[in-house]
């Protein structure tokens, strides 16, 4: 027998899948990914190395996560009902993250199969955890900022971090050498945010701190999403104990 929470969680999963599938922006992003993969498959011109392939898949993963994630708590009905359902704080963000993943993660997996045709025996775990970790972190952060900045801005921000996040902190340091005022904060930001380079580093070296950072951002994103959903409605509580 399905409990109330399980039924509510399932309905959030279904709602998220429908919101992603029926909006033109994630559909277009998915179509572009499929077209790109189809061309790679037809021409047989895969990436030269496994690292290049994983970087491309991470890019696809980041773009899909940010575009799909921006629909899940878009101001309007999707955001309002997240509050009105009056569910436990974790239920809506986690249910919607899972729901959107069921639609878009297969595309990431498809990309991985095509672009990384010959992974070595030790890499499937690193690849899987890296792709999923980066995808989940990007999506949950996009979820958290969407109610504040709006769906389009959140998607654009996610899209930009997916592209510019390829640069490592050392690259940023070198780039901003002439502007020392910005250099320190930029490097700190690059070391803290769940960016593309960190997932790539996990896949390459298998260093636990990278996947930990992505995991922490996933949880923080979900807590942030729950907070922003409630923020506009946060009430100062009246005193309890009135005899009615």
């Amino acid at each position: 027998m399905m409990s109330g929470i399980a039924l509510a969680f399932k309905s959030e999963v279904v709602l998220a899948a429908l919101l992603v599938l029926r909006h033109r922006a994630p559909r277009l992003a998915g179509l572009l990914v499929l077209t790109m993969m189809g061309l790679v498959l037809l021409n047989g011109t895969g990436t030269d190395t496994s690292e290049d392939g994983s970087r491309t898949v991470l890019l696809v993963s980041g773009v899909l996560a940010s575009v799909a994630g921006s629909r899940l708590l878009a101001p309007g009905a999707a955001l309002t009902c997240a509050y009105r359902v009056a569910a436990p704080w974790w239920l809506v963000p986690s249910g919607r993250l899972v729901g959107a993943s069921t639609v878009t993660l297969p595309l990431v997996a498809f990309g991985a199969v095509i672009l990384i045709p010959h992974p070595t025996a030790s890499t499937p775990f690193l690849l899987g955890a890296g792709f999923i970790g980066y995808y989940a972190a990007t999506m949950s952060v996009t979820l958290a900022i969407t109610p504040v900045v709006g769906a389009s801005s959140a998607a654009v921000l996610g899209f930009l971090t997916a592209w510019f996040g390829i640069a490592t902190p050392s690259t940023m340091q070198a780039l901003l050498e002439k502007w020392p005022v910005f250099q320190g904060p930029a490097v700190l930001l690059w070391n803290t945010l769940p960016l593309h380079w960190r997932a790539a580093s996990w896949i390459r070296d298998g260093c636990g701190i990278d996947i930990l950072v992505l995991g922490v951002w996933t949880v923080a994103g979900m807590v942030g999403a729950a907070w922003t959903v409630a923020a506009t409605h946060r009430s100062h509580r009246p005193p309890r104990g009135l005899a009615t």
Partner: protein, 308 residues
């Protein structure tokens, strides 16, 4: 049994010099099974009051309890179904998908959810449109969907803001009966509307809000027992109504003349005699039931009198 307690509820918007009370020290109590109408002009605080009860916005001061739980808390919000105006519904989904989603958060078993959704679809007469995308719905259909969602989610109170706006008259008359049935099932219904006739037909009690204040709390059964004398005045008589208004402070100027409530022993004969002594020529007169519009006009006249 008490379903709702509102004690000196105040909600202010804005900051600094622009800070303004949309609702000011509003107090009342409502029982389960009641249909409470909320009327008033634009900006009177109707929607603010409903949003406070639904837990959509926090109070600035005072308190609101729904079913004994402070409004805005998780348990209170789970007891209230709210149809906002305009309703917020996702255009990507079909009506049935939306109902199923909202209902899933209030039921614990898929079979229970199915029966709840079926009941709500019948309630709002959505059977023909359930499988259509909401993007294809007309305004009236969206309102009906909002009513269905509010009914399915509100176990103790159903809060309806202009829910029959845009609904065709035939369906609206059937929906009025269904809303009455909802109240009969032990829910408190709060109905805010500018359609005073609908509120009169449905409500058992009516709250009149004026500039954020609760101006009157009217028992509808009492209201229909009261009578109003309507005097049609022509030409120069229209400009000589001052003395009549002074003599009968509850009277209200209408487009054609005066409407005077027949209260405190006042009869039509006495009123016509007063007109004769004031040399106000009456072209026609009639007696009718007192309606909400009279109350609103009286509140407006009082407000105008207070303004220097």
């Amino acid at each position: 049994m008490t379903a709702l307690v509102v004690r000196r509820a105040t909600r202010k918007f804005g900051s600094g010099r622009r800070r303004r009370a949309a609702l000011d020290r509003c107090s009342f109590v409502a029982e389960k099974g009641e249909i409470l109408g909320v009327v008033g002009p634009n900006g009177a605080g109707k929607t603010t009051l409903l949003r406070l009860i639904a837990g959509d916005i926090p109070l600035t001061a005072g308190a609101v309890w729904v079913d004994g739980r402070p409004a805005g808390t998780l348990s209170a919000r789970r007891a209230v179904g709210y149809a906002a105006d305009p309703p917020l519904v996702p255009p990507e989904l079909t009506g049935l998908e939306w109902l199923k989603h909202m209902s899933s958060h209030r039921t614990s078993h898929p079979a229970e959810r199915t029966s709840q959704v079926r009941w709500a679809v019948e309630l709002a007469e959505l059977d023909q449109y359930g499988r259509r995308r909401i993007a294809e719905y007309s305004r009236g259909m969206i309102q009906r969907l909002a009513l269905a969602v509010a009914a399915v989610t509100g176990s103790s109170a159903v809060v309806l803001d202009e829910v029959l706006n845009g609904v065709d008259p035939l369906v609206a008359s059937r929906l009025r009966t269904r809303i009455s049935d909802l109240a009969g099932s032990g829910r408190l219904i709060l109905l805010a509307s500018h359609d005073l006739a609908t509120v009169e037909k449905l409500a058992t009690r009516v709250l009149v809000l004026w500039e954020g204040r609760l101006s009157a709390d009217i028992d509808v059964a009492q209201l229909v027992r009261e009578r109003v004398a309507e005097l049609s005045l022509r030409g120069s008589a229209l400009s000589r109504t001052e003395c009549l208004v002074e003599q009968f402070p509850e009277s209200v100027r209408t487009g054609e003349g005066l409407a005077v409530p027949l209260t405190k022993g006042l009869t039509m004969e006495k009123l016509l005699a007063a007109c004769r002594s004031a040399r106000v020529a009456v072209a026609a007169s009639r007696i009718r039931y007192r309606v909400l519009e009279d109350i609103l006009h009286a509140a407006a006249a009082r407000k105008k009198g207070e303004t220097p």
